[in-house]
Symmetry: C2
DNA sequence: AATCACTTCCAAAGCGCTTTGGATAGACGC
DNA sequence: GCGTCTATCCAAAGCGCTTTGGAAGTGATT
């Protein structure tokens, strides 16, 4: 059943039927009722394809997901971000278009989406320092929204980020206050903007107390469980092992805990752990008292909000630029305690 | 730049340009070269919207993701399935359309996608016993593919599943062979088809050895880390606690391990653990020797294959029904050992 | 009774592509 | 030189919707 058939069935023009269904005022209320009833009876849905072509809007928002064996970072938090964004999309009648591409084709994927006109806007995930995607999207003249920030980006852009520097500065301060002076950092990949900011916060806190920054106890890699484990093993094998560890996500933090416990040490006593907790739904940080002391900010909420803001941007392109900065909360759990007294 | 403009620029008809670009034979090779060169020069991409309308194909495949606080199961394995499916889609020129909806609107979401014509086919995730989506999709006459199976489904369908029963039967046998006679089950939600099959395998193995099935040591819930933890606590609090546990995913297995270690018990010695390992990319089961003894089957591979098969179905609708059944491999890791001698 | 303003509807022109059904021209055989 | 074939190209008709620019009808106003 298409619009023409429906209008013939009703003895009305396509114009009137279209207007009746789309809530335009130029149609008698009685007629509108009749049209809506018929549409419901025949289970009529306008073809999205035709609608897109006519309106010039696809009502779809694109996400480009690069895949490779190296680069799984997106995955960890991705599903929750998507869930949040998807909620917002659904609320506004948008759908989500995912384009999974090889790492080296990411830029190309964005231009394809834009030029083919299959999306009305895109979300940029995991920005790096001076991310090239930002200027590309600006050239392509397609609305886009960055989840995170891109230090030194030449072009301007709309974004939402967590105050990563502040979060890790506070976490480090918290450990310093507990008497820890040797604190390991198990960071994400340094090319990620958020990882650089977190390290900056960590270093700033140390320097503020006159402590030196020791590269030997700073790691950076894809945030997997085994990475957390092996990095921690390396830390604990040092002559002067750290008494506390800062992990960039709950996933490597699980590996940290495994490494600590394997050695018969106790988390929160021999070794304190603080992690960044994205509040991933299936990996909550405990039920009551958190397992890990953590800097917490829900990535699902971020997804919801990014989507909301992007839709606003699409519907009102001349809007003033948006740059939201969320503060992570510091929640105290079981994984931290005072620095052990030196033997 | 659209087709008309490009054809005017070239002094050719739209027909010829279209045919040249789409590889039809009715065009001189020299002309084709000229057209392709011009298209490249102007960075021309045909509008996907117009193309869809003209061809009747959207070149998009739909996934409906229900969200709610109860029901996070999809998330755990979802991102990896998506990554795999996305690879296949990309290879064949398809995109992925995600529709995130409230739990109770899932059925509706499928009919919308089908009737609006925004997708050429859909993937069904996490089927339950006699899943109503299957008959719905059959009515809607849209190609679909089920990841998993639906026992008692009234309608016929194409699917790919892991032999869940066999996997858990083998895992249980493995534990029985090690001398364990009291084995806890930490299963997924029982309304999921895979959970029922896994339980069936577990029970079959026990009964084959004349052992009784004890509901007191069988749990079923959303597969989160805290669930694994609390279920294990409950098991270990029993008068006659199990010496081994079977977990339905690596995520609750992490909670199992936490609960075991919290009590000062040793995994693989005091308590053995086997889990189902979906080979989630960011949560690999160790690097060398697996952390957990597990029944393993890559959900990413499954995604890849499901997508491949669905595309085949779309391009050739009269094809014979497909029903692939994959055997999980049983990999032995550090989490299992002989049953402890009773004190 | 003529004018005006509204309300309600419609015919038709896109949106940018694909595809059908020729048209044209050169090659070929006789 | 004529008919036939093939290679190459084109005009135009969709695909199913939205939207522009009226037209017809209705009632109020003058």
């Amino acid at each position: 059943m298409n619009l023409r058939q429906l209008s013939e069935e009703l003895g009305l023009s396509q114009t009137t039927v279209s207007r009746a269904l789309n809530g335009y005022p130029e149609v008698n209320e009685a007629t509108r009722q009749r049209v809506q009833a018929a549409a419901a009876a025949y289970n009529y849905r306008p073809s999205q394809r035709a609608k897109s072509l006519a309106t010039g809007q696809s009502m779809q928002i694109g996400h480009v997901i690069p895949f490779s064996t190296q680069h799984e970072m997106v995955n960890v938090i991705f599903s929750d971000f998507i869930a949040g964004a998807g909620e917002s999309y659904a609320k506004h009648g948008y759908d989500m278009l995912l384009s999974v591409v090889n790492d080296d084709q990411e830029m190309h994927a964005y231009s394809e989406l834009a030029r083919k006109g299959s999306v009305d806007g895109v979300i940029v995930h995991g920005p790096t320092r001076d991310d090239p995607r930002i200027s590309l999207l600006q050239e392509l003249k397609i609305p886009f929204f960055v989840h995170g920030r891109s230090t030194d980006a030449s072009a301007s852009y709309n974004c939402l980020d967590v105050n990563n520097k502040r979060a890790f500065q506070r976490a480090t301060d918290f450990l310093l206050d507990l008497g820890h002076t040797r604190i390991g950092l198990i960071n994400g990949l340094e090319r990620m903007d958020f990882a650089q900011r977190r390290r900056a916060g960590y270093e700033a806190a140390l320097r503020a107390r006159g402590l030196s920054v020791d590269p030997k106890i700073m790691h950076s890699d894809e945030m997997t469980e085994p990475y957390g484990h092996s990095a921690t093993c390396a830390l604990l094998d040092l002559e002067d092992p750290p008494t506390a560890v800062l992990a960039s996500s709950i996933v490597p933090a699980l590996g940290v805990r495994r490494a600590v416990e394997e050695r018969g040490l106790t988390v929160g006593k021999d070794v304190s752990i603080i992690c960044f907790d994205d509040a991933i739904s299936y990996m909550p940080n405990g039920k009551g008292e958190p397992i890990f002391t953590a800097t917490r900010s829900s990535v699902r909420d971020a997804g919801r909000r990014c989507a909301e803001l992007l839709i606003g941007l699409i519907q009102n392109p001349d809007q003033a630029p948006v740059a939201e900065l969320w503060e992570a909360e510091l929640v105290v759990g079981q994984s931290t305690g005072p620095a052990p007294q030196k033997g």
